[in-house]
């Protein structure tokens, strides 16, 4: 009876067990919960959160944190909606500019963090303020999007058979997952991220490009947040400067529940996907129940966050003893 799991995989395994248990309980309690439709719904419902969380995963793996993601989502959704509706831009141009802005914004924060050794949480808090203010500077009000391309994309679903189809936002989430998974696992950049998160000084002494990697990580997070903002416009057909308030907290929570250590260096992109699914399952279960208040989602995720942080702490201190 020696089921040995490498210490590295304990948080990931725990995440998987939590997901299966939660989904199992919800399926037993609520009729019709254990259906493919609900699983598909988990993906499209949480696509923007998931995409933010993927970018956040790399940031946290590198030992940093990015608190600006929610505001960047809000800015991007407002920017895209305003450019399309008030300035008659083609959506593709608006998307391209928004993605560039998000990436440059992230890279700028990364530069401040790397070159001037400023604490990441402080710089990205500044970023949170700045992007939210800029969202209001672009447009004060929620703005609906009415464009042929958006109307066309609404029906651009990928059929899965059995009357099911994967919405565009869900497929974008999966595409981003594959991209981030590839970056984290198979690229030099990804290995550098892990190395820097593990021990920045050692990484520097080994001659790894610490600066380029750190800036790149924040740029990627900015890119993901901008993409999440675009996904939000595709999902809601509108842009609102209030979009994504406190989204950064959910994104961080999902990453940690997904088994990534907040101290950096240890974790998996796949864990974040599981974290998003856990978040979605809690949300759907509360929705299915009908009697539970939706504010319990954040309470439940907070409790999970606490349990996972204590679990991580136990694993890390056990590792130190060994």
């Amino acid at each position: 009876m020696s089921l040995k799991i490498s210490r590295k995989y304990v948080p990931l395994t725990a995440t998987f067990v939590v997901f299966v248990v939660l989904f199992g309980i919800a399926s037993l309690r609520y009729e019709g919960f254990a259906s493919a439709a609900v699983v598909v719904e988990l993906f499209s419902e949480n696509a923007f959160l998931g995409i933010c969380a993927l970018g956040m995963t790399l940031v946290i793996l590198s030992g940093g944190i990015d608190l600006s993601v929610g505001s960047v989502v809000g800015f991007t959704s407002t920017f895209v909606a305003t450019m399309i509706m008030e300035y008659a831009w083609h959506p593709i141009n608006a998307w391209a500019v928004a993605l560039v802005l998000g990436t440059v914004f992230g890279a700028g924060m990364g530069c401040l963090i790397h070159f001037y050794k400023l604490p990441a949480f402080l710089v990205t808090l500044g970023g949170l303020f700045f992007a939210r203010g800029m969202a209001y500077a672009v447009n004060r009000e929620s703005l609906g999007i009415n464009h042929d391309l958006y109307n066309g994309l609404a029906s651009a679903n990928i059929p899965l058979g059995g009357g099911l189809s994967l919405s565009l936002t869900a497929s974008l989430f999966i595409a981003f997952f594959v991209l981030t998974f590839y970056i984290g696992r198979y690229t030099k950049f990804g290995r550098n991220v892990y190395a820097i998160g593990g021990d920045e000084d050692s990484a520097l002494l080994m001659g790894l490009p610490v600066g380029r990697t750190k800036i790149g990580v924040y740029a990627f997070s900015g890119f993901c947040s901008a993409a999440a903002g675009i996904v939000m416009t595709l999902y809601t057909w509108s842009g609102n400067p209030l979009n994504g308030v406190a989204l950064e907290l959910d994104a961080i929570a999902v990453v940690v529940v997904g088994g990534t250590l907040l101290t950096g260096g240890v974790g998996f992109v796949a864990g974040t996907l599981l974290g998003v699914l856990i978040y979605g399952t809690i949300q759907q279960a509360i929705y299915f129940d009908g009697n539970l208040s939706s504010s319990l989602t954040s309470v439940a995720i907070g409790v999970l966050l606490l349990i996972f942080i204590l679990l991580q702490k136990a694993i890390v201190s056990k590792g130190e003893e060994a």
Partner: protein
């Protein structure tokens, strides 16, 4: 002597910023300084700065101690929301609840929240950003769960006095800040507690081996920070006579952290300046009030705030200073 010199020099920047803002107003908008007396109470922009800034000042006083131990408390904004929700539900269930009971219960909840943060940091040894993040994620959910996911109007004369009342011609919240500041100076700064806090922040192990119960100190500073956040939440709820769990105290933790950092307390801990935290909060509020008086949209006020914050951080960065001075030197040579 050396210590006091150091701490006074770190106050130069925020004081200069404050002076510059006031000078700007003196030149371009002299009416900024006018103070009028209505019903024996003082009104005017300068009074407003103290009144509106009182929330940030109260938070900054508590946050200052936490940062001095090398920690940070991200949950003060949500603790404000929770206490606001608690007091709203108390008055909703019984409008005649005595002020004493309402305050006691609400502050008790805030104290528990703060102690929870403290326990996670001191005894579970979790990094402060992460430990307080848990409450930051959960807190708004708890607050809206308490109020049943809606805003609740809080209309009670005795409670309303906290945020809108006047004492000796000054807004009560302003007097409250002075009282709390005095309490902190006498109870912390002038006692060995300040030394214990600074020792814990400077080098926890060394403090421990010198006989300082650094765990207890940490627990206490988070407890005090939680209580102050609760008090700030009560003043805000009283001021707007309404408790909105999704909005009350949102982003306040950032204001508080910035007030403390701008006021010369380093995020690395080990030293703190209470008056600096007050000045930092005044600087932020003067900036906001100045923008309002020029008709700048309140929704845009985060932008100058963000710029101010990053600038202050840059001014404190050694590398930036070096680059800046070498740039200046090169110009002189050319």
């Amino acid at each position: 002597m050396k210590q006091s010199l150091k701490s006074s020099s770190s106050l130069i920047w925020p004081l200069a910023g404050l002076g510059l803002l006031l000078l700007f107003n003196a030149v371009f908008n002299p009416s900024f300084f006018s103070i009028s007396i209505v019903d024996g109470n003082l009104y005017g922009n300068l009074i407003d700065i103290f009144r509106n800034g009182s929330i940030t000042m109260i938070l900054a006083l508590g946050m200052c101690l936490v940062i001095a131990t090398g920690g940070v408390d991200l949950s003060v904004g949500t603790i404000m929301a929770i206490t606001g929700a608690v007091v709203a539900i108390i008055y909703q269930s019984d409008p005649d609840t005595s002020l004493f009971v309402a305050l006691l219960v609400a502050l008790g909840v805030a104290g528990v929240a703060g102690a929870l943060n403290g326990a996670l940091v001191a005894y579970a040894r979790i990094q402060p950003i992460i430990a307080t993040l848990i409450l930051m994620v959960t807190g708004r959910g708890i607050a809206s769960f308490i109020t049943g996911e809606k805003q609740i109007a809080v209309e009670n004369d005795a409670f309303g006095y906290l945020g809108t009342g006047h004492l000796i011609a000054l807004p009560f919240s302003m007097v409250l800040v002075f009282l709390l500041y005095g309490l902190m100076v006498l109870g912390v700064r002038k006692t060995p507690v300040a030394l214990f806090i600074e020792a814990t922040g400077d080098n926890e192990d060394a403090a421990h081996f010198s006989g300082v119960n650094s765990k207890m100190i940490k627990l206490l500073v988070y407890l005090v920070c939680g209580l102050f956040a609760g008090l700030a939440g009560l003043v805000e709820t009283s001021n707007i006579a309404n408790s909105d769990p999704s909005q009350l105290g949102i982003y306040r933790e950032l204001d508080a952290i910035f007030a403390v950092v701008v006021g010369g307390t380093a995020l690395s801990g080990g030293r703190f300046s209470l008056i600096g935290a007050i000045i930092g909060a005044l600087l932020l509020q003067t900036l906001t009030t100045t923008l309002y008086s020029y008709g700048v949209d309140s929704a845009l006020s985060p932008i100058p705030k963000a710029v101010l914050i990053v600038t202050v951080c840059l001014l404190r960065s050694d590398r930036f200073r070096k680059q800046f001075t070498s740039l200046y030197a090169r110009k002189n040579v050319a």
